[in-house]
């Protein structure tokens, strides 16, 4: 029952567990009775429309929100028992367009967590340079400000910043959503390679099925605050669930390059 065979180092130890977790705001349920667990080293894609509860789910992991009922555990410890600051520093967070600090240079943006963790300066410098290579950016960019970068560069800096203190868990919220299709596809491929090397526990939120299929070991589909299905990526497209079918059809209606080739040759 384990996911794709490429991820051999995966253990059965859960990194993140949602145990009947719900989140209500002013009586309105944003997330209802979520039961889900993510194993260490696994990449889980949370798929769903806007307003389906994906972002709420992410925020429960790093304690930007606490569940109104049920519990969320990270490394078998309830998030409510974690020191919020410690918990967040052990989870890398990437958002759309990078969420970079506009008044910090690329260098300071990447170095923020090591700096507040009081790493010695030479170690910070070395780490920043190492990360630039990891995300495929040139050192010339270090002294630039986010507004002087392209969207793709900003997103790479965002990934580098999230990885800076080598957190075991990485959460990404529509991380590649603001990119043009070509850059987006590049970033997806690079991220997948990166993930195969780093073996971090990754939760990736997207509404793009194709992106989900490319990156995921497992896909959890959400709708209106509820988990609809939770399947290994390779079984997802074959699921008989009506909502999954709706997704698959919506995406196969798009001119997929392989498919259109076939149509032409026919």
């Amino acid at each position: 029952m384990t996911a794709s065979p490429s991820r051999v180092s995966e253990t059965e130890e859960p990194a993140i567990e949602f145990d009947h977790a719900s989140f209500h705001i002013n009586g309105r349920p944003l997330l209802q009775d979520l039961v889900l667990s993510v194993k260490q080293g696994e990449t889980l894609v949370l798929l769903g429309r806007s307003g389906s509860g994906k972002t709420t789910t992410l925020k429960l992991i790093n304690r930007l929100l606490l569940p109104t009922s049920g519990e969320v555990r990270v490394n078998r410890k309830r998030t409510s028992e974690w020191d919020a600051i410690r918990l967040r520093r052990s989870i890398g967070y990437v958002i759309q367009d990078g969420g970079l600090f506009p008044h910090f240079t690329v260098e300071r943006n990447i170095a923020i967590v090591p700096r507040i963790e009081k790493w010695p300066q030479p170690q910070i410098d070395a780490r920043v340079r190492e990360l630039l290579v990891t995300v495929g950016l040139s050192e010339d960019l270090l002294s630039r400000y986010p507004s002087q970068l392209s969207g793709g560069q900003r997103q790479r800096v965002g990934v580098a910043r999230a990885l800076a203190a080598d957190p075991p868990i990485l959460i990404l919220d529509e991380a590649f959503g603001a990119l043009d299709p070509i850059t987006r596809s590049e970033m997806q491929k690079e991220f997948r390679e990166l993930q195969q090397r780093m073996k971090k526990t990754v939760i990736f939120v997207t509404h793009d099925l194709r992106e989900g299929l490319l990156l995921a070991d497992r896909i959890a589909l959400m709708e209106e605050g509820k988990l609809v299905v939770d399947l290994p990526a390779h079984e997802f497209a074959r699921s008989g669930d009506p909502l999954v079918r709706a997704y698959v059809e919506a995406f196969s209606a798009l001119p997929d390059p392989n498919q259109s080739e076939r149509e032409v040759s026919r």
């Binding site: 790093n62 930007l64 919020a84 600051i85 410690r86 918990l87 967040r88 520093r89 989870i91 967070y93 958002i95 969420g99 970079l100 600090f101 506009p102 008044h103 923020i112 967590v113 507040i116 400000y145 507004s147 002087q148 910043r161 999230a162």
Partner: protein
């Protein structure tokens, strides 16, 4: 005797009163900043306080300045010295723009950036000092600028309670029905206000571009 001749013959006094004026307005703006900026920060942290604090500062602002100087005059611990009293009154007037701009500046920081900071594990203090205040600094300086220009203008009235400053010339000129004397107070005060406005405006723009930095 025309205006320029009056300025030349009384240049020592013009200079003294101008310095006194700068001291009045400067100390008042400093006091207003020392109280107003922390209060502005406080109400971003304790939102329940934002209404009473902003409301209170608003009410102070609506008191006619001459009346406020008059009200404060009988206060025994400050009434003895007109200068100190005037500084207090001017500082009270400067509070509103400072509180309001500090509050608006911090509230105006892109929530996605603040949340990214929080998600990375910045403490509230780190978030304030490293993210929110730097990004709000342009708006806060705009508040200082408003308070400073307001103080320079209002400080002319402080002469009515014996606090000195360029208002001395204005009140003397009014009493003497002499326009030259009035202008000897009014023109330097106006120039001073323009100069401070210009200088703080430059600082504000420099800090404003800090958030976008092209």
């Amino acid at each position: 005797m025309n205006f320029l001749q009056f300025m030349m013959t009384n240049r020592q006094q013009v200079l003294d009163l101008t310095l006194e004026h700068i001291t009045l307005a400067g100390v008042a703006t400093l006091l207003a900043s020392l109280v107003g900026i922390p209060l502005g920060i406080l109400i971003t942290r304790v939102p329940q306080l934002s209404k009473p604090v902003l409301g209170g500062a608003n009410i102070i602002q609506t008191i006619p300045s001459l009346a406020l100087f008059g009200f404060l005059l009988p206060a025994p611990w400050i009434g003895a010295r007109g200068g100190r009293l005037a500084i207090l009154a001017l500082a009270l007037y400067g509070l509103l723009p400072l509180i309001r701009n500090t509050y608006a500046g911090i509230q105006g920081v892109d929530p996605a950036i603040v949340e990214a900071g929080r998600a990375m594990g910045l403490t509230d203090r780190q978030l304030l000092l490293q993210v929110e205040l730097p990004l709000a600094s342009g708006v806060i300086v705009a508040g200082v600028r408003i308070a400073a220009v307001l103080s320079i203008g209002l400080a002319t009235i402080a002469a009515a309670i014996g606090a000195g400053g360029l208002g001395e010339f204005i009140f003397r000129g009014l009493a003497m029905v002499n326009n030259q004397v009035i202008l000897a107070g009014a023109i330097p005060a106006a120039l001073l206000a323009l100069l401070v406005d210009f200088l703080l405006g430059r600082l504000e723009r420099r800090l404003g571009t800090l958030r976008l930095k092209t």
